[in-house]
């Protein structure tokens, strides 16, 4: 049992408990999202002791050195004096300007932002409801060209945030949007390099953004997009992507269906397996992987073994909040 001190308040962290869990149990108002060390919503600062290394995971060096850490990844090893993030930090209020269904469970949500140039297609942001409920979503468009961010939001069974976006959030409502995060985006160098894009479910969101960005920059190498789902009804934008592939000769698009017989125009099997089978040698390719964490990790390794350089493999694993079933 270690004490957590915040200003003049003393809270107790039970053995094996994370700082986040302890503070939530004590009804301390702290923003959080994925609880898996990814979204960085729950960054807090230690004012006295050095936090455990694993709690500082992927934070920037500058944050690490100032004692910041992820509350959801920190099981304290001693008493700590903490500073909670100001609720305002890094978030801005933005207006919803579009919301429409793309298939039976996935919604396109469009939010206007003032400083669109700071956001890159393929990065992610945290969206926060007024009560603090926070989730991470990837940017599916080129923000700079429209002054807006587009997200693909799949309604998860029991998902508090996604159900709210689907059922209650309306055009004109406001939502808090964080700074952009993540490194899964297109860099306009080596334009002749092949790009292999593999996504499952709403993994198409960052890939569609990256794809649009690459085409806008005049990428000349082959661009191969594989988008997969269990059933055809869970894919979306298939006609739009087919049209895009007709317009750009260097772009190919393969929608994949992993369950049952694939209808005409769809490849049977998982997107990652179909894509890897079509590319025995990836030694000169840049690879983007977005979607289910197991698919992403597994394909990352396979792409590397097929010769892709580590620095050329970009991953965005979608972590579902562990409280999705609440």
């Amino acid at each position: 049992m270690f004490d957590l001190l915040i200003k003049n308040n003393r809270f107790t962290c039970r053995p094996g408990e994370t700082v986040l869990d302890a503070l939530l149990r004590e009804n301390v108002n702290i923003p959080y999202g994925c609880r898996a060390g990814i979204c960085q919503s729950c960054v807090v600062q230690s004012l006295d002791v050095t936090p455990p290394a694993e709690a500082q995971g992927n934070l920037k060096d500058t944050l690490k050195s100032s004692g910041h850490f992820l509350a959801c990844q920190c099981v304290p090893e001693q008493a700590m004096r903490l500073k909670l993030p100001a609720q305002e930090a890094g978030y801005t209020d933005c207006a919803v300007i579009g919301s429409e269904l793309m298939n039976r469970n996935t919604r396109l949500l469009i939010i206007r932002v003032n400083d669109a140039h700071r956001y890159k297609a393929g990065q992610f942001v945290n969206l926060q409801r007024s009560d603090g409920l926070t989730r991470s979503y990837s940017i599916a468009n080129i923000p700079q060209s429209s002054g807006a961010l587009e997200f693909h939001i799949r309604c998860l069974p029991g998902g508090r945030f996604s159900a709210w976006v689907h059922d209650e959030l309306k055009v004109g409502d406001s939502l808090r949007v964080s700074e952009p995060q993540g490194h899964c985006f297109y860099l306009p160098d080596r334009k002749e390099q092949g790009l292999l894009l593999i996504g499952t479910g709403t993994g198409l969101a960052p890939l569609a953004g990256i794809l649009a960005d690459a085409l806008a920059h005049g990428h000349s190498g082959p661009i191969r997009l594989f988008h997969g789902s269990r059933e055809k009804e869970d894919l979306y934008w298939t006609e739009e992507m087919r049209e895009l592939a007709k317009r750009y000769p260097n772009l190919s698009y393969t929608p994949c269906v992993s369950s049952g017989d694939a209808p005409e125009g769809f490849a049977p099997g998982r997107a990652n397996e179909v894509a890897l089978a079509a590319h025995p040698d990836l030694s000169r390719w840049r690879v983007f992987l977005c979607g289910h964490p197991d698919m992403v990790k597994n394909t990352q390794k396979q792409a590397y073994l097929k010769g892709a350089r580590l620095a050329d493999i970009y991953c965005d694993a979608f972590v579902v909040s562990t409280e999705a079933a609440d």
């Binding site: 197991d294 990790k297 597994n298 990352q300 390794k301 590397y304 350089r309 580590l310």
Partner: protein, 122 residues
């Protein structure tokens, strides 16, 4: 005093280049790939990086005791001297492929060999 092996071999850039080639060789080698974690590549790569920094005599925080505890699980799985030798083989081949001069390869191999008994828990 002359530069350390780590500096002469090319520092962190050399470590990164070596890990890129070495880990691919290791994962493709049926003799030893079962000892490498099946899923989490990112944490494996961090370990490979630490290994090369160590073999190049660079800044690292490893002690013999760490080496023992880190590899104890693998020894239980049946890791022995033959597997250690395979890793040494890939270490040499990797550095050769990167055109590291023979005498520097020998130096790095010597450092890695020095960890043999700790790694194998002997």
């Amino acid at each position: 005093m002359s530069d350390s092996l780590y500096e002469r071999i090319g520092g962190e850039a050399a470590v990164n280049a070596a890990v890129e080639l070495f880990y691919r060789k290791v994962l493709n080698d049926y003799r030893i790939n079962r000892f490498f974690d099946k899923t989490d590549m990112d944490s494996q790569l961090a370990k490979q990086k630490a290994f090369f920094t160590y073999a190049f005599g660079g800044p690292n925080h490893y002690t013999g005791k760490d080496m023992r505890s880190a590899h104890a699980r693998l020894v239980k799985m049946g890791m022995d001297g033959s597997h250690f030798d395979v890793v040494m083989e890939h270490l040499g081949a990797t550095l050769h492929e990167l055109n590291v001069p023979g005498e520097l390869i020998a130096e790095a191999a010597g450092i890695a060999l020095g960890a043999r008994s700790d790694v194998l828990g002997l």
